[in-house]
Every structure is written in structure tokens, then in C-alpha cells.
């Protein structure tokens, strides 16, 4: 079975800070990580490989050359192959064009099962997974909490806000993984050595993939949406902060609750 895992290298948004004067993002010194949902996707693929025979895992990412580090990390965790999809022609892509590019890459590589993270913590769209499946014309099961693999099918525990379902699909299919799915393993020391010395990260450009990708569907040109502007939120008018005794604090809270007719 061939599993393709799609990952994205993202800035650790928990550590992004806002410049209070300029009101812009301070990205300097913010570490890049494998997107957390994607890391669970890698772990899910590795667990399938641990349990079943003849499983081959290829991890792919679309991004700039720096994303090499993220792919090496996936190799060090135990993935078999890594591909960096990188070309100026792919730049500026929205989810439509990104998914078209990744779907083309996946067709080029061949696949039985595709695992993506639910959403990336920088963009938070959760659109690329289902859209890859749409481009490939295969079923997708979103929000996976558990995955079982059979001979020619998968059973996924799919999360909703108010319920979960067990859903079965025939392969090939695509799953989007939640961090609740598992606890990703660490890279082993031997794995890290192998990732840099024995295994390689292959770069794929538009020229490698042109049979599988329509040039009208990639990059900024192939993207129906545009970012018109981005901005930081105007801070809400700050209220009053009291440093008082506990009894006074209780009085202040009760007064406020009365003022708002809550008590």
C-alpha cells in the first residue's frame, strides 16, 4: 500500500507576537514547525506501516526550499521518501491552486491512501485536504480521530461537534487528521542520521509535473481568491483593572452584575 502524507511547514503561531507600535506581526525568531495536525497525519501513516506489510510512505510538501527541514524530520520519524514541490510558478497559490498542484503531484507519485492534516495553524482554512480529494475524484473523510485499515478499505472515526461516526470508504481515499488521533513519535537518533545521510529529499518542479498539472490552475494565476488587505485588530477599549482586597473585589463584581441586570 502506498500512503502519501501531505505536510506544511508553519511558523509556530503560539509564539507570534504583534509589534505594539507598527501593529504588524513579528516573525523574527519564531521557530518553524511541522503543522501539528500534519504531524499526527505522519504518525497515523507510520502506525499503519507498523501494523501492515508492504506499506510505503511518501511525504510531500509544497513550499520554499527551507521546507527541506520539515521533510527531513518526517524522514527521521520513519517515512520512506520525501518530495519538495517547489517552483516559482506555484507561488501565490490559494487553496484551490495549492490543492490542484498537490493533486497533480500525488497522481505523478501514485497512491492508495492520502493523509493530510485537518488544517494548518497559520491559514486555518481546512480546505486543501477535501479539495485534493475533489481534484482526484476520490472520497474524503474529514476530522479523523481513529483510523483502521483493511485489505481494500478504511474505517475512520469521524468527529463532529455533537457526535462521532464510524465511516467506511473503499481505497483510494483521503483522510484529514486531527491532533486527537495520536501522540506523534519523536525522531530517533539513527533516524536523524539516516534522514540526512541515507535518504534524500527530491525536489519536483513544474517541469516534472506538467503532464499532471494544468498551468491555468497553479500559482497566483490559478487562484480565484486574492488577499485584499491584512491588518491587526484594533484593541478593544481597555476596562478598569483593580488591585484590591478580596472583599472589595467581590463588591466590585456584584455591583457590575447588578448594573447589567445579571443579578
Amino acid at each position: 500500500m502506498k500512503i502519501i502524507v501531505c505536510i506544511k511547514q508553519v511558523p509556530n503561531t503560539n509564539e507570534v507576537k504583534i509589534d505594539p507600535v507598527k501593529g504588524t506581526l513579528i516573525r523574527e525568531g519564531v521557530p518553524s514547525i511541522i503543522n501539528p495536525d500534519d504531524l499526527s497525519g505522519i504518525e497515523a501513516a507510520l502506525q499503519i506501516k507498523d501494523q501492515c506489510k508492504d506499506v510505503h510512505i511518501a511525504v510531500i510538501t509544497m513550499g520554499p526550499p527551507q521546507a527541506d527541514v520539515a521533510l527531513r524530520e518526517a524522514l527521521a520519524m520513519g517515512c520512506d521518501e520525501a518530495y519538495l514541490v517547489s517552483d516559482r510558478a506555484f507561488a501565490g497559490a490559494d487553496t484551490w491552486a495549492t490543492s490542484a498542484t498537490l493533486a497533480g503531484t500525488i497522481k505523478y507519485l501514485g497512491y492508495d491512501l492520502i493523509i493530510t492534516g485537518r488544517q494548518a495553524i497559520d491559514g486555518d482554512t481546512a480546505q486543501v485536504g477535501p479539495q485534493i480529494a475533489e481534484h482526484l475524484g476520490i472520497p474524503n473523510i474529514s476530522y479523523a480521530e481513529e483510523i483502521e485499515v483493511g485489505e481494500d478499505h478504511i474505517v475512520v472515526k469521524r468527529q463532529y461537534e455533537d457526535r462521532y461516526q464510524r465511516i467506511q470508504a473503499k481505497l483510494p481515499a483521503l483522510i484529514t487528521a486531527l491532533t486527537e488521533l495520536n501522540q506523534p513519535r519523536y525522531m530517533s537518533v539513527g533516524g536523524i542520521v539516516d534522514a540526512y545521510e541515507k535518504k534524500e529529499v527530491k525536489t519536483l518542479t513544474y517541469a516534472d509535473l506538467d503532464v499532471f498539472i494544468d498551468p491555468a490552475n497553479i500559482g497566483l494565476k490559478g487562484s480565484p481568491t486574492r488577499v485584499k488587505k491584512s491588518f491587526t485588530k484594533a484593541p478593544k477599549g481597555k476596562g478598569v483593572v483593580h488591585q484590591v482586597s478580596e472583599d472589595e473585589a467581590v463588591e466590585i463584581i456584584i455591583e457590575k452584575l447588578k448594573e447589567h441586570y445579571i443579578v
Binding site: 511558523p11 507570534v16 506581526l25 476530522y143 457526535r163 461516526q165 478598569v240 484590591v244
Partner: protein
């Protein structure tokens, strides 16, 4: 030419979801400002009981597709039905709730009709010059907002975060067209099988419906969530939680407020021992009244709180509870 605004109205088990009514409220505003019609799309099986409610909440017309295969949500049959309606009508704007269903369905539909889709929007507006839809959404974990446009493709599609838009006051017996739309389903459209559906435990509360939320953070500690529960009962509210306290196992995931949890706007949000990470603030800062208790004077929660108390919640809350109990006894 593209015209009219379509709202995908989500139902589960024959019940309209709250987000659908919120989107009808917002969709009607957009339609009115464009001099267009607001159309509600309802997919399901035997849904006639919901049609009037859609008109009462602002729809000018209801289009519904009724088929057994649409009874429970499945990606492919829903995508096929919605795509068929979009191809027939050429809408200007399409709105979908950013729920576990909407965020699965919307990307597939947008891809199939080859148009743009903006995820999880929190604000919509019409550009007065171009008449394009301006779709604003948080990114980078809520650190920034981005306004997205879809200038050359129609419909302009957006998924909208639940709890953000406001439903209209319901009117009674509003008239409007109700149209059945036929979709020729085939056996192959059902490409997955639902083996089992398990509802979340009844104990779980919908924190987005609560008028008062008493919310605990990492600083609360597991035992003290019971104290929050007592306070919430006295104020007629529910207990909610920060991501840190959910991760620590103090509260269940369905009570989580924030970027990866739920967006709430209660009358009172009481943050106890919550420092106020940006992801948390994104989910609660629209609350009418915010009271925060935290030991750390520099905690970011104080930036959005109407009333901030620097102090120990473990000491303040028991006193507050005693006082409130006395008030409620005097009142009764």
C-alpha cells in the same frame, strides 16, 4: 449575470442548526444591500417542517432537495446536490456555516464549480464600488485579520464561523416561494458507508447558547472546576474552559472557547485564572460584559476585560458565591 445570495441551511436529524439562522440574518443584509433575493438551500429527507422557519428567518425563497440519500450528511451526495443547484442558478454569493459539515462540504463544492472559497469568516461586507464581497477572517491563530476577495469567479463562496453573525427576529407566516429541486442520484454517489453514529453524552452543554459563561483556565485546577459550576448555576449559566484546561483534562473539549474551540458572545463572560492567549481572546472578546480574575497583573486577558481583578480566584470565588447565595435568598 450572477445574482442572488444563497445560504446553505444545515440540518441534523431533522433539526435546523443555529448557524443557519445566523447566516440567514447576515445573508439578508447582504442581499438587501445588493437589491438581490435571499435564497435558502435545504438538503435532507422529509424536511417540510423546516421550510416555513427559513422564510420566517429572512429567506425570500427556499430551494430544497429531498432524497433518502441526503438524510444524514455524506460528502459526495451533498456535494452533488449543492453543485447541481449552483450550476442551475448562477448565484452571486454563497454562504455556509463553518461547522464540521460545512468545512467538509464547502471546499468540495467550490472546487467542483471552480470558484474561490474563504474559510471561517467573521465579517462580511459589500465593497461599495465593485460590489464584490469583502470576506474578513482571522489567520495566524487570530493574530491578524485578512480581507479576501474573489473578483473574477462566481459565486463568491464563504464559510462563516458559528456564533458570530446575528439571526433576525423571527417573523410569523412570512410568504415566499418553496421550490423542490430534483437531483438524479445514482448508487455510486454513496461512496462511503456510515457504520455507526454515536451522539456525544447528554451532559455536554452547548456553550454557544449560554447567556452567562464562567470560564476556567490552567490556573483553575481540576477540583476547582466544581466551584466554577456552582457559580455558573447561581448566575444561570454554563461552565466553559480555555484550551490549556481542556488539554490538562479539567474540562471536556465541547466546552472549549477560542480559535480551535467555539466562539461565544454571552451577556457575561467571567474568565477565572485564564491568562488570555490570543487564540482564546478570538473566541470570547465580543462578549457583552467581560470580568477577569487573574493573579498576574500583566495577563493579556485584562486587555479585553471590562472589569479586571488582580487576585487569587481560589479566595475570591468562594466569597462571591456566598454573597450571591445571600442575594438570591433575600430575593426569594
Amino acid at each position: 449575470m450572477s445574482k442572488d445570495v444563497l445560504v446553505f441551511c444545515e440540518q441534523r436529524d431533522g433539526k435546523l442548526q443555529k448557524v443557519s439562522l445566523e447566516l440567514l440574518g447576515e445573508g439578508r443584509k447582504l442581499a438587501d444591500s445588493l437589491n438581490q433575493k435571499l435564497v435558502a438551500l435545504l438538503l435532507g429527507h422529509e424536511t417540510a417542517n423546516m421550510h416555513q422557519s427559513l422564510l420566517n428567518h429572512g429567506a425570500c425563497e427556499v430551494i430544497y432537495v429531498d432524497a433518502p440519500i441526503l438524510k444524514d450528511y455524506m460528502t459526495e451526495p451533498y456535494t452533488k446536490a449543492m453543485t447541481a443547484v449552483l450550476k442551475e442558478h448562477d448565484f452571486d454569493i454563497v454562504l455556509i456555516g463553518a461547522t464540521a459539515i460545512g468545512r467538509d462540504l464547502a471546499p468540495r463544492v467550490a472546487c467542483r464549480v471552480r470558484t474561490g472559497l474563504t474559510a471561517d469568516c467573521t465579517q462580511l461586507e459589500i465593497d461599495s464600488e465593485t460590489k464584490n464581497l469583502l470576506m474578513t477572517r482571522p489567520a495566524f491563530g487570530g493574530n491578524i485579520l485578512a480581507t479576501i476577495i474573489c473578483p473574477e469567479h462566481r459565486p463568491q463562496m464563504a464559510s462563516i464561523r458559528p456564533g458570530v453573525m446575528i439571526a433576525r427576529e423571527q417573523e410569523e407566516n412570512t410568504t415566499g416561494e418553496i421550490t423542490r429541486f430534483e437531483v438524479p442520484f445514482e448508487a455510486a454517489d454513496q461512496n462511503v458507508t456510515i457504520l455507526e453514529t454515536v451522539m456525544a453524552s447528554k451532559k455536554s452543554a452547548d456553550i454557544t447558547e449560554a447567556k452567562v459563561l464562567v470560564s476556567g483556565g490552567r490556573g483553575t485546577g481540576k477540583e476547582n472546576f466544581a466551584t466554577l459550576g456552582k457559580l455558573a448555576d447561581l448566575l444561570g449559566g454554563q461552565v466553559s474552559a480555555s484550551r490549556a484546561s481542556v488539554d490538562a483534562g479539567y474540562a471536556s473539549k465541547d466546552r472549549q472557547v477560542g480559535q480551535t474551540g467555539k466562539t461565544v458572545r454571552p451577556k457575561l463572560y467571567m474568565a477565572c485564572g485564564i491568562s488570555g492567549a490570543i487564540q482564546h481572546l478570538a473566541g470570547m472578546e465580543e462578549s457583552e460584559l467581560i470580568i477577569a480574575i487573574n493573579k498576574t497583573p500583566s495577563a493579556p486577558i485584562f486587555d479585553v476585560a471590562d472589569v479586571g481583578i488582580v487576585g487569587d480566584m481560589h479566595k475570591i470565588l468562594p466569597k462571591l458565591i456566598t454573597k450571591l447565595e445571600r442575594i438570591s435568598i433575600n430575593a426569594s
